[in-house]
């Protein structure tokens, strides 16, 4: 019993120590720029939690992080370094925007089509990266990076050319969508409950696929050893493509929701960096979808809280990003250290 307790405490220590280290590291960065670390952390926390409106903002930011995290847990399970979620979000938003601008139906049928279009767009973009990986042997990191750049160029071109508002193109994006393509919000907050529901469903889907289905087991086998998985008769090429498509659909959904539920228009920075932040989320979650919601909530809170640094302390909001990145690095460092110690003692 005491042995078990000791093991649990050790596991807990391995979880908490890297976070403390990351806070210390960020504190040093803050001291270097002449700010009070404790005050800064306090401001972030307050900025994220001080009012129900802020809680709603945190949940709104949680949606794309959870969606991308859920999608990437599938590609990571298959051993694929899919970094293309950023581009998949953008293309999802573009497809959704096209439907929102061109389909004039009542609210729910329009929303249905907008959301499906977003998922199709993201899935298409992920599928292209998958095709490059499977048939042209372009590693998915390079393929994903390239596709991200193309998506960024595409969205800028669309906003500044065919979709520019009547009063002239600016970085503030297209004309607002017609109101029949707006996802309803909760009361006076900015929170779209439908989006939260869909993100929860996506996380559950990723979880059950990986835990409870043959498909998920086969993806995990591929992630452990692609060659052995192939020899066991797993259709590795087909599964790689489908994992890219599923991840792309979830990222594309995130893009569609950013456009129709948050901004009600297409803006150049529609992805808001959630494609990369989502990757940090899934890495910190140990590639397990069941941990994605909690980690995503934490990241969403930092994201919503850090603009307060600018208002009250004249610091740049990107310090929140420093904190997020530091946590991921220290957690990875601790995992590596722990593995190394385990190897030495065995």
């Amino acid at each position: 019993m005491s042995h078990q307790l000791k093991e649990r405490l050790q596991a807990l220590a391995w979880l908490i120590l890297p976070i403390i280290a990351a806070l210390l590291f960020t504190a040093i960065v803050l001291l270097l720029v002449g700010a009070q670390p404790l005050q800064a952390f306090w401001e972030i926390a307050r900025g994220a939690l001080e009012s129900p409106a802020k809680w709603a903002d945190v949940l709104t930011a949680w949606v794309p992080l959870a969606l991308v995290g859920a999608g990437m847990s599938l590609t990571f399970a298959a051993g694929l370094w899919n970094i293309g979620a950023e581009g998949q979000i953008i293309v999802g938003a573009i497809f959704a925007t096209w439907v929102a601008r061109n389909v004039h139906l009542p609210l729910w049928p329009t929303l249905f089509l907008v959301i499906v279009a977003g998922m199709v767009g993201g899935a298409f973009w992920g599928w292209l990266t998958g095709l490059l990986r499977v048939y042209a042997r372009v590693h998915e990191i390079f393929g994903g990076l390239g596709m991200n750049f193309i998506a960024t160029a595409l969205i800028i071109w669309l906003i500044f050319n065919p979709w520019k508002p009547a009063r002239g193109a600016t970085m503030s994006g297209t004309e607002p969508f017609p109101p029949n393509a707006w996802v309803p919000r909760l009361g006076h907050t900015r929170l779209p409950p439908l989006a939260v529901l869909m993100a929860i469903l996506a996380v559950l889907l990723a979880y059950y696929l990986l835990k409870g289905t043959r498909y998920g087991l086969e993806l995990r086998a591929m992630g452990k050893n692609m060659r052995a998985a192939f020899l066991q008769g797993i259709p590795t090429h087909r599964h790689m493509l489908s994992a890219f498509i599923l991840c792309g659909a979830m990222a594309g959904l995130a893009g569609a929701l950013q456009a129709t539920a948050v901004y009600h228009r297409l803006i150049p920075r529609i992805s808001g960096g959630y494609g990369y932040a989502g990757m940090l989320v899934v890495i910190l979650a140990g590639y397990r979808p069941e941990w994605v919601p909690a980690v995503a909530l934490f990241f969403a809170a930092i994201g919503v809280g850090s603009p307060r640094l600018e208002l009250n302390m004249q610091l740049d909001a990107s310090l929140g990003g420093v904190l997020e990145g530091a946590i991921v690095l220290f957690v990875l460092l601790a995992a590596g250290l722990r593995k190394r110690l385990a190897r030495r003692s065995s």
């Binding site: 043959r214 995990r220 086998a221 052995a228 998985a229 008769g233």
Partner: protein
């Protein structure tokens, strides 16, 4: 210079690659290091040349103990190695590769280096052009570059790891002449690592034979071929008897296959196998038997020819369809190809069983527990496969096979297994014959091949010979033939 390796031990996980090896190298001698693949030759030489650390043991140069932390330290002490795949920089020129070896100044003196290179190349009649890229050279020419590079670095001991793979016949003649000159005229110590008997016989002054990480013999040449074969393959362990099973219809037919591998081409390979038949594939490692069997398994597509299973043509279909048709391959590398490292025993079964899309893990666990008991696997459903012993890994692999198979292909079914597990594996395989399964297997253990095969197919450097009935063969004869020659009485 005299190099002694004493009681060298090196393990990789559970594999004891070198288990107390002694080796002495003398200046002016060509020392053959002979053994099957996996016998521990390359590991031993990588230790000597500083590429790998040893677990225990000592290396003495002229009686003084030395340790090498890197290949650079070994070459400074005069020991250099030519690797099986040359470790050079293909896009760079011959001269750049040569200079990289020893000119470590910021701005290398190219003129001096070129003169030095050409002088060395001329001394051995190597037609090397300093200004072409290394990627345009043949393997033989790259070896020549490696040799003069090591000489320029002052190597007194030169190790060559399987140097004759992939070079042409004239290049081989020239290589042997060069090695003889280096040893006998210039007083270098040469280590010639090989699994080819006839080359060791033609070239070496003395030979050390390794088997499963241990020295099984050290003798001055010449040594009779059958003695070398015995040292390489050893005396086999007693195995269960093979009760006769009447053979059925022809199940598998391969017609005039043309198969191209990495460094090998097999032409006109044909085979017919009947239900319940056991066919052993004998040959030195890399002679083509694995290539042929992996083609039958559907992993390699033949360039020409046909494969039929029960009269239905499978040629050109994907591997999964070969599996679905009832052909199964159990690879020699059980943990890196056969099983999925990192998954548990229980997680392997839904990959191969008829399983619904939504896995019933409870039902699967009950099934796996039954299989663990039936196949006597020392492990639990949640045990990761990589923590099992080799024998238990093989048991899991056999337990994963569907009950009715038409063709079961085994690469080295008992390699690395203890006697108990080896016997058990063959009991299982022999039982499968009763369902009409064809068993095709490779083995480096000639007794294993003679004991269990109905017929034996011999491979020698890409040539597949027609099957011979095992009753028409002896172990000695088989040993001669896989060495590429007929038995002495057949020559007479």
């Amino acid at each position: 210079m005299r190099v002694e390796m004493r009681q060298i031990h090196k393990s990789f996980g559970p594999v004891h690659a070198n288990a107390g090896v002694d080796l002495t190298l003398e200046a002016g001698r060509i020392h053959g290091l002979l053994g099957e693949n996996g016998a521990g030759k390359t590991t031993l030489m990588k230790i000597l040349s500083g590429y790998q650390s040893m677990d225990s043991g000592e290396i003495l140069i002229d009686g003084k103990p030395v340790t090498f932390a890197s290949p650079a330290e070994a070459i400074r002490a005069g020991i250099g190695m030519l690797h099986q795949d040359p470790l050079d920089f293909p896009p760079m020129t011959v001269l750049d590769n040569f200079l990289l070896a020893f000119d470590d100044r910021l701005i290398p003196d190219r003129k001096r280096g070129e003169a030095m290179m050409l002088e060395l190349a001329q001394r051995f009649n190597f037609p090397l052009n300093p200004h072409v890229a290394v990627e345009r050279l043949t393997v033989g020419e790259r070896q020549q570059l490696e040799i003069i590079r090591l000489l320029a670095l002052g190597a007194q001991v030169i190790i060559l790891d399987e140097p004759t793979t992939g070079i042409s016949a004239p290049q081989k003649v020239q290589l042997f002449a060069t090695l003889r000159r280096l040893a006998h005229e210039e007083g270098k110590a040469i280590v010639f690592v090989s699994h080819k008997l006839e080359e060791v016989e033609a070239l070496c002054d003395e030979v050390t034979v390794l088997r499963r990480g241990k020295v099984t013999g050290h003798k001055p040449m010449p040594v009779p071929i059958d003695e070398l074969v015995r040292m390489m393959f050893g005396q086999s362990i007693a195995m269960p008897d093979k009760p006769p099973v009447p053979l059925g219809e022809i199940v598998l037919r391969a017609e005039k296959l043309l198969i191209t591998g990495h460094r090998l081409e097999i032409r006109d390979a044909s085979l017919e196998a009947r239900a319940g038949e056991v066919i052993g594939f004998a040959g030195m490692e890399g002679s083509g038997q694995s290539l042929f069997l992996r083609t039958i398994a559907g992993l390699i597509r033949p360039k020409r020819g046909h494969i039929f299973l029960d009269g239905e043509e499978l040629t050109g279909r994907p591997y999964r369809e070969f599996m679905r048709a009832g052909i199964s391959l159990l690879p020699a590398d059980r943990i890196d190809e056969g099983l999925v490292r990192g998954l548990t025993i229980a997680e392997h079964f839904p990959l191969r069983r008829e399983t619904p899309f939504f896995i019933d893990w409870e039902e699967n666990r009950r099934y796996v527990e039954k299989m663990i008991e039936f196949y006597n696997i020392k492990g639990r459903p949640e045990t990761p496969v990589e923590s099992l012993s080799g024998g238990n890994q093989q048991r899991v692999l056999l337990a994963l096979q569907p009950p009715k198979l038409k063709v079961l292909i085994m690469e080295h079914p008992t390699r690395g297994l203890d006697i108990g597990s080896a016997r058990w594996v063959w009991e299982q395989l022999l039982k499968r014959r009763e369902d009409g399964t064809v068993i095709l297997f490779t083995s480096a253990d000639l007794d294993e091949i003679m004991t269990y095969s109905d017929r034996v197919v011999i491979f020698f450097s890409g040539q597949m010979y027609p099957p011979i009935r095992a009753t028409d063969l002896t172990v000695e004869e088989l040993g001669y033939r896989i060495g590429g020659r007929a038995a002495p009485d057949a020559e007479a």
